[in-house]
């Protein structure tokens, strides 16, 4: 029995002395999108070689979860695979948080079918919309409903779950309203599950990040998308110059202005914007052009200056 009392006492005393650490911590806390996570992880890993004493921590609450913490001022930086929504912005402003939005990379959404699918090589945005819009639920069930020359077979759909920024982006770009989609498709937050699904289903159709196609190109077939200017396949080139429209999207980080009191945050963000283009290839994303990175650096520099002037 004495042991228990001792152990409890230890835990309580450890807890109380631990409290002090949080207040003068010099770490950089990051949270947010799991899509952007590999980019930020790569930067954090590389940043340790120049600033080994700075502890960068990264969570994966998702874009929405990240903005929630960001709006409460709980994290310095949040990763986002879509721009901040109005209600999220309102919450941040209510809590007196000003922030800057920085683009850090591009991600292409690949539209994928089974390799034995020989009838489709290009979708128009309108066709994709007819497949995925909410009114398609229960109505569009067979391939030949989209194009009479396609087989009279059931079309089986695979896509990310509703909580992901990828889902928000796809529905916004294709259907026109963010989050508006049919519900009767196989959803998974794990893109590798979607890869498995489409690669094992001759009449399957799915969409997910380009990196997942590139790693599995032997068992999947990519479909070009016609956004009004002809059929264009996603590639580093077409995603970065924006010609793969509308399914190429920028990835963002958001920086809280009050976190700039910690000079390590400024240093880290600058490091991010200068080194990202060299590291992105490792994680399967497409870098911005040099001019675009310079534009984002200038934007951040202006934000830092504005903050300095306020004080």
């Amino acid at each position: 029995m004495k042991k228990f009392i001792l152990l409890t006492a230890i835990s309580v005393s450890l807890a109380s002395c631990g409290n002090q650490k949080n207040e003068n911590s010099s770490g950089i806390s990051i949270d947010g999108s799991s899509t952007v996570y590999p980019v930020t992880e790569a930067i954090a890993e590389e940043y340790r070689t120049v600033a080994p004493d700075t502890d960068v921590t990264i969570g994966v609450s998702g874009t929405g979860g990240g903005f929630q913490k960001f709006g409460r001022g709980e994290v310095a930086i949040t990763n986002a695979s879509r721009p901040i929504k109005e209600d999220e912005r309102a919450i941040a402003e209510e809590n007196g948080i000003s922030f800057v939005e920085l683009e850090v990379a591009y991600d292409g959404l690949a539209v994928i079918v089974h390799p034995e699918n020989d009838w489709v090589s290009c979708f128009t945005v309108d066709q994709l919309k007819r497949i995925w819009e909410p009114s398609a639920q229960g109505n569009i069930k067979r391939w030949n409903q989209i194009d009479p020359t396609w087989p009279d077979e059931e079309i089986r759909l695979y896509g990310p779950g509703v909580a992901s920024g990828t889902f928000d982006y796809f529905t916004e770009a294709i259907v026109g309203t963010s989050g508006s989609s049919r519900g009767d498709y196989t959803a998974s937050e794990d893109d590798n599950v979607l890869v498995q699904g489409v690669s094992g289903d001759k009449y399957g159709l799915g969409f997910f990040g380009l990196a997942y196609y590139e790693e599995n190109s032997d068992k999947l077939k990519m479909v070009a998308v016609d956004g009004g200017e002809g059929c264009i396949e996603p590639s580093a080139q077409t995603v970065s110059d924006g010609s793969y429209a509308p399914l190429s999207r920028p990835l963002y980080i958001y920086v809280n202005s009050s976190s700039l009191d910690n000079p390590e945050v400024i240093d880290f963000v600058n490091f991010y914007l200068t080194e990202a283009s060299d590291l992105l290839d490792d994680v399967g994303y497409v870098p911005l052009t040099d001019e675009e990175y310079e534009r984002e650096q200038a934007k951040f520099a202006a934000f830092v200056e504005q903050k300095a002037n306020q004080q």
């Binding site: 340790r48 990264i58 994966v60 794990d190 399967g284």
Partner: protein
Amino acid sequence: MNNIRKNRIKDQVFKFWGIACTFLGLILLMIFIGSIIVDGVQRIDWSFITSLPSRKAERAGIYTALMGSVWILIFTTIIALPLGIAAAIYLEEYAKESKLASLLEVNISNLAGVPSIIYGLLGLEVFVRIMEMGASVLAGSFTLALLILPIVIVSTRESIKAVPKSIRDASFALGASKWQTVSQQLLPASFGGILTGIILALSRAVGETAPLIVIGALAYVPFAPESPMDEFSVLPIQIFNWISRPQHGFETNAAAAIIVLLLITFIMNGIAVYFRNRWQSKLK
């Protein structure tokens, strides 16, 4: 005669059906573990254990996640052990007949069935936000301690119940008070069983992901926790994170990390079996 033969055949058929059912789970588990080992065992080496997370699969390691899991285990034990044992003693020895006790009993068995993510939400609100612990080892440990508390309470009560009535009666007959009987006789006699229950509960806790993700456990931490207020990651989160990466090298890493996690639970279960056996032979 004919009827007897029929019944014997039925008996045999049922016996083999029973064997098939018993082995189904085991065989599936063997296939799973086998394929994990084939995928991951060559990836396990010292640098895998001692390296930080990395964007390159072949450089990445589990050091911080492993350390996080160890810290979480230690603090979950420290929190759940006294709470669970005290609650069980109260329910078993002091509150035996009352209406309150039966109400508590029903609630505790219900709590054991609450999905773990609900505990995560509770932990986020109470420990992380209201008690301002942040997404720390301590907040994670309190959350997991709550999660396993019902299991600890139930198994502790069972062990106390299993102490022969003669020991209790002898103690009372010698004039010992209730507290003396509990602390001098019942607890020492049932300690092996209590420990077994706690270790089994902990090996469930070490595999939990959902509640820890909800309270804000991290995916990338470049340091091992140094105090209970530090942020942390745990092995299941690292595994989940690696499985969802596009590069195939991470699948091997995930398999290797699963082997490490399985080893931890097997070792813990082994310790539990050891204590149970020792305790049983002691009682006889």
